[in-house]
């Protein structure tokens, strides 16, 4: 509002249109970052996520033992000074394995979350944009895909197709797009209702241009927030696949650590330390993504504004 009165005072550089627009965009990004980092969830999530990424990347530097080496300590030894989180049944250091284990979780969770979100966008946007037959067909396809319980399918596929990391990523990506696609479709529908979409149509723009220039920028916040929350789901699914023993058991992941622990009845035989750390790791990774995702949602799609005064 106060902008109105700032008329005429600014220098009128004629050459600087593009750079000025760039500065404005930069201002917006800075405003967003400010909003995100002053959001308690956003800050906490970023710090947690940063920590997890750091330990995963720096695992070779900070891990006290070789994670694969048998008998670096006694079998199933409780936490001690030399093995802070004890050892497993083969005498491997739990902490070292934990530090390495995050790599697979993050790799699988993030990659399949990203792929699924891209797929969901590519499917959801046209589903919401086209009003006629095309839209109805895609929507029906999405609705039908929702009928197949994703995790159940993952188990079936993993059983048939084998369990390499890339297979798991492929399966998770293939199966987790329908719910976000539906959300994106719903958001597209509501953006499409806006006059600015029709008015661009009335300017003679093609469907592809409208989807790219009018719809996409306006649903991007939803896509981002959804994508992050999708990663929470894929991280948990990856862990579950690993826990069922259907993951790549040759590689260390938090899920497979729990699988072996459960197989050896770690809890009932008193080896609780074996189970605590990996479970904690999964929960923490998921939690940090949830925090980031819901902070993004709050900053990018503020609800608060709608609950303010209904004046005039």
């Amino acid at each position: 509002m106060s902008n109105e009165r700032a008329t005429g005072s600014e220098p009128t550089s004629t050459a600087g249109d593009a750079s000025r627009a760039g500065t404005r965009r930069f201002d917006r990004i800075r405003g967003f970052l400010h909003g995100f980092l002053t959001n308690r969830k956003g800050l906490a999530g970023t710090v947690l996520l940063g920590t997890i990424v750091f330990i995963s990347v720096a695992a070779p530097l900070i891990a006290p033992y070789d994670p694969e080496a048998y008998g670096v300590g006694p079998a199933l030894a409780p936490p001690s000074v030399s093995h802070l989180f004890g050892t497993d049944d083969l005498g491997r250091d739990v902490l070292s394995r934990f530090l390495y284990g995050g790599r697979i979780s993050l790799l699988v969770g993030v990659t399949s979350g990203v792929v699924a979100t891209i797929a969901a966008t590519l499917i959801g946007v046209p589903a919401g944009y086209y009003r006629g037959r095309i839209g109805r067909w895609i929507t029906t396809a999405i609705d039908m895909s929702l009928v197949f319980p994703p995790f159940v399918l993952v188990v079936v596929f993993a059983a048939y197709a084998g369990s390499s990391v890339w297979n798991i990523i492929l399966i998770l990506s293939l199966l987790s797009w329908p719910i976000p696609a539906r959300t994106i479709k719903a958001k597209t529908l509501s953006v499409r209702e806006n006059d600015f979409v029709e008015s661009t149509e009335a300017l003679g723009a093609s469907d592809a241009r409208i989807m790219r220039q009018e719809v996409l920028p306006n649903i991007l916040p939803v896509v981002f927030a959804n994508g992050i929350l999708q990663m929470v789901y894929t991280i948990l699914m990856e862990a579950a696949v690993g826990f069922l023993g259907l993951g790549d058991t040759a590689r260390i992941s938090w899920g497979t650590m729990l699988y072996f622990a459960q197989k050896q009845a770690a809890l009932s035989s008193g080896g609780w330390w074996w189970m605590v750390l990996p479970g904690f790791g999964i929960a923490l990774a998921a939690f940090s993504f949830i925090l980031v995702g819901s902070a993004l949602d709050e900053v990018l799609n503020p609800r608060l504004q709608r609950r303010t005064w209904g004046d005039d």
Partner: protein, 350 residues
Amino acid sequence: MSSESAVTPGWASEEPILEVRNLEKHYVKSTGWLESFFADEKRVRAVDGVSLSIDRGEIFSVVGESGCGKTTLGKTLLRVIEPTEGEIRFKGTDLSSLSSTEMQEMREHVQIVYQDPFEALNPKRTVNGLLRQPMEIHDITSRDEQRERIYRALEDVNLLPVEDYLDRYPEELSGGQLQRVLFARALVLDPEFIVADEPSSMLDASVRARVLDLIDELRNERDISFFIITHDIGAARYLSDRIGVMYLGRIVEMGSADGIVEDPKHPYSKALIESIPSPDPREPLGSSGIGSEVPEPVDLPIGCRFHPRCPAATEHCRRADPEWRSVPSETDDGRMTECHEVEPKQQPPE
């Protein structure tokens, strides 16, 4: 249908820029095979046989209650909504026969300005981006040319100095300013014809007149013809050369702006004008004398479509469709209406 271009001298000499004949837009409610077992097909006659012609440089307003089909008419004129039936000629070209790609190219010359300035501009683009987009669509790629047109458009809508507005996002502008950005966005393509949907209804009275004056200026300086959709009869009279009164998908009366407001002939036009409050507190509140329930344009009555609400309806009105014909008026403004109860004009000997 007799020619509407034989109206008052002001525009009579000019060739029409847009001419429509018997334009119809019918919607069919409910589709699909299984539903048809359960529900009957219903036809919504949003626009039901409209013929009119707009001259170069003319401002034509269509007024009527919400649900009368005026917005649908405006959008159908430019095939933003596909007409079910009828012919649209823009400068002699039959728009209805164009392929969708040809129509997309034609849109360079005909523009729509939408009603709600807060909704009609993409919030993710700056003013500069919003104004450049139409030119990108129509392959005007030279940066200099783009700049020149953007500056000229913003100057024409009086957003000055232009530099102050280029980098603003819609959320940083007031309703009145946004409304002018909307007009500027239509202007960068140098159109000859603009449909404006309720250009002033979202604005406070204090800035409303500014937008109305802007339309008048654009007509005078850029020779643009306007088709204005509005429920604000005051604004319509203030602004336009001619007014058409629309009821349930049809134009029921058409004449000069002053003539329609001062001497309405059709009972519906009369009711509409009777109900406008004048600002003078000493004058009583207006009253339409007809019920306020607008029937839906489905299952239309036989006879005149206004008869169920018409205070002057006779048995004849319930049975026969009224004819669209010239009628005499005080101002002699080439008035046309469709009503059995209004005496037709005697054909003057040619």
